[in-house]
């Protein structure tokens, strides 16, 4: 056990990712803890993960589908299109809203024990991701209801799942790090997330965006993810794998870089700031 550790200003950087690996058990335990207490003392329990997107979908279908008569994606039922978008959006909105307070909630741990702080927002993302996976059941139920068969695209689902996780984590880290320093984010976030639902193609298909603006629109990483899932599960009219999807990938990568960098930079001061 000849572990030798040198603590110095800015020294923590050198072994960072090794430390993240060493603390993987803590990461698992924290994720497991959050999962097991998430629906404690609720009547519907884990059903909430299904109910929330379903209820939102009903509202959208009535207001935008029936009253405003927004077009669907080809011959896909409007409700089905919305539920896929809504499920994906729920993942992002839940994670990003909670990311703002996740580190603050763990003040007790952070100011008392050392571990790579990355574990805290990462385990939050895992918990929300599990919710996300569970909510796929509602999509399956609706598909059976409409007698809608998925296309062969469905075999690419794992790829999109990974992509969704990464696209979720990047901005999540960024928000988490900034929220410790500037509590303003607690007030800004719910508002931004609410706006985001209407800006992202949840209640409509991104095909309604004029082609010349598609690339700009796709800078919102959620656009590429939602389009991807729709393509993957519902087939739809295709045509999304143009320049737009690439821009979404770039934006996802950029946010991952930005989030990690910001987090690492602020991380060592967390204990002093909280």
């Amino acid at each position: 056990m000849a572990q030798r550790l040198v603590i110095e200003l800015d020294r923590a950087d050198t072994n960072y990712w090794l430390d993240v690996w060493r603390f993987r058990e803590l990461f698992l335990v924290l994720a497991w803890r959050d999962l097991s207490v998430r629906y404690k003392d609720t009547v519907f329990g884990v059903l909430w993960a299904l109910l929330r997107p379903f209820l939102a979908m009903l509202v959208f279908t009535v207001v935008f589908g029936k009253l405003a008569k927004l077009p669907s994606d080809g011959d896909v039922p409007y409700s089905l299109m919305v539920i896929v978008g809504m499920t994906v959006w729920s993942l992002f909105s839940a994670s990003w809203t909670e990311a703002g307070s996740t580190l603050i909630k763990e003040t007790n741990l952070i100011t008392k024990v050392y571990f790579p702080r990355l574990i805290v927002p990462a385990s939050l993302m895992v918990v929300n991701f599990v919710d996300f996976l569970i909510s796929f059941a509602i999509i399956a139920i609706l598909m059976i209801w409409y007698g809608f068969l998925p296309s062969w695209h469905i075999i690419l689902l794992p790829f999109f799942l990974v992509l969704a996780f990464v696209a979720n984590l990047g901005p999540g880290l960024w928000i988490a790090a900034l929220s410790v320093k500037y509590r303003d984010f607690r007030y800004v976030l719910p508002f931004m997330v609410q706006l985001g639902m209407y800006v992202s193609p949840v209640g409509f298909t991104s095909n309604v965006i004029p082609d010349e603006w598609r690339w700009l629109y796709s800078l919102n990483p959620v656009v590429g993810i939602i389009d991807g899932f729709r393509w993957c599960i519902l087939g739809g009219q295709g045509g999304l794998f143009g320049i737009g999807f690439c821009w979404s990938l770039v934006a996802t990568g950029f946010f991952m870089w930005l989030g990690t960098r910001q987090f690492r930079k602020t991380e060592k001061r967390f204990a002093d700031l909280l």
Partner: protein
């Protein structure tokens, strides 16, 4: 040198703290009066601009108009050998916690370095990370992981932990239903079964009942006996005396003594005393001001500690504008700020400060109290007719009781026994007759 398991070299840590400048302070409370509304707005706008500027530069947000660097640790160096139990004492704000936080990697130093050869586990506050909704069983795994144990390790020691904590029956009950005693026992049990090379302990001994405390002390001895190193921070001098083999004293971020525990405790008392002479500034109330307060002995010379069972003498200097009848009140608290007793001059004795404006000195002599050994503090306040405080000085006079022996047996009644803060004696020994 090679056997040093922890080596602290020229360690320092600075924090930035904000102040409000005099210009604004002068208007202080009156800033929101009509005439000063403009000033208040200007101040708000300037504050906003300043924080926006900091936000853009990615700097830390600091309240106040000017920023000052505060040195929490200043060029501290020492080595700890394998198997040594090192005590760390010093008054609050002396730098103990900062030192431990750096060694346990919670915060980074601003300068210097620490070299550690081995695994560190810290019990900065036991029960860290306990989740109230989870059962005892689940919390053992959670807390173990937080303290750096692997799941395999926890599984191996699980029975031992449950046994140590004496909670077999409640192992599957959520810990929010635990009594505070059970909670603490479980928390310490997990912590005590972590097997690090270096164990950092901060004030955990002040919990639980006597029996459990003895168990904890035994465990600590066992840990250090097994060749492991312990860094113990405590305000409890008898724990320091009994457990440590060496002790350092911290004051104002500097290491002022490094050596044997008995000498360190004496040095610590000196530091406390010195502070009293040097930096006593209590501010002032509206009509009165408490200028200074010392613990003194029979002859009126300052003493660092109070001897249980003797009169408690406090030398106070107070100024008054003579406007009303001002009472002087003493509030006795424990080191962790639990109020124990009140002494109100006017209500109990009909005595008030003189009606002539001026500065007065008096020695307040309190009847003997059998205070258990440990940390205490006196809040000193002036009040108007016992109705409202005019000048309230919190922790005006922190002091220690080093030993308390209310009987003639050789026994030290300590705060950490958890049996109370002072002893109540019988007026005369009772006689048991056949009933």
């Amino acid at each position: 040198m090679s056997e040093a398991i922890v080596s602290v070299q020229n360690l320092s840590k600075q924090y930035l703290i904000g102040h409000q400048t005099d210009r604004f302070q002068a208007y202080g409370g009156a800033a929101y009066d009509e005439g000063n509304l403009r000033l208040a707005i200007r101040r708000g706008v300037q504050g906003f601009l300043r924080s926006s500027k900091r936000l853009l530069r990615g700097e830390q947000m600091i309240r106040g108009d000017s920023v000052e660097e505060f040195s929490a640790l200043d060029d501290v160096s020492f080595d700890v050998k394998r198997g040594e139990v090192l005590g760390i004492i010093g008054r609050n704000g002396g730098g103990k916690s900062t030192l431990l936080k750096i060694i346990s990697r919670i915060t980074e130093p601003s300068g210097g370095r620490v070299i550690i050869n081995g695994r560190v586990a810290s019990l900065l506050e036991i029960g860290t990370g306990f989740h109230p909704e989870l059962s005892g069983r689940e919390n053992i795994f959670l807390n173990g992981a937080i303290l750096g144990m692997s799941r395999a390790e926890i599984r191996k020691k699980f029975d031992e932990i449950v046994d140590f904590a004496q909670i077999e029956r409640f192992i599957d009950t959520p810990v929010k239903r635990y009594s505070s005693g059970m909670y603490v026992r479980l928390a310490f049990a997990v912590a005590a079964h972590v097997e690090p090379d270096i164990l950092i302990v901060d004030e955990v001994l002040a919990v639980g009942d006597t029996e459990f405390q003895n168990k904890c002390l035994g465990k600590m001895r066992e840990v250090s006996g097994g060749g492991r190193t312990v860094l113990l921070v405590s305000h409890n001098m008898s724990a320091i005396r009994n457990l440590t083999s060496r002790c350092i004293v911290m004051s104002a971020g500097k290491l002022v003594y490094d050596g044997n525990p008995a000498e360190a405790i004496r040095k610590y008392a000196e530091v406390l005393d010195q502070r009293r002479v040097e930096e006593q500034s209590f501010g002032k109330g509206t009509h009165t001001a408490i200028k200074s307060a010392y613990l003194v002995d029979e002859d009126g010379s300052p003493v660092p500690t109070y001897t249980a069972g003797e009169p408690l003498r406090v030398d106070v200097v107070i100024s008054t504008d003579g406007g009303a009848s001002y009472s002087v009140d003493l509030i006795l608290t424990t080191g962790d700020r639990q109020k124990l007793a009140l002494g109100a001059l006017q209500a109990f004795h009909g005595v008030t400060l003189p009606k002539e404006p001026g500065t007065y000195r008096a020695v307040l002599e309190i009847e003997p109290i059998w205070l258990a050994s440990g940390d205490y503090s006196l809040d000193i306040a002036t009040s108007i007719g016992n109705a409202a405080f005019d000048h309230y000085v919190e922790e005006a006079l922190p002091f220690q009781v080093l030993s308390c022996n209310p009987g003639d047996q050789s026994w030290d009644f300590q705060q950490i026994h958890g049996l109370g803060s002072f002893a109540i004696r019988h007026r005369r020994p009772p006689v048991f007759k056949p009933a």
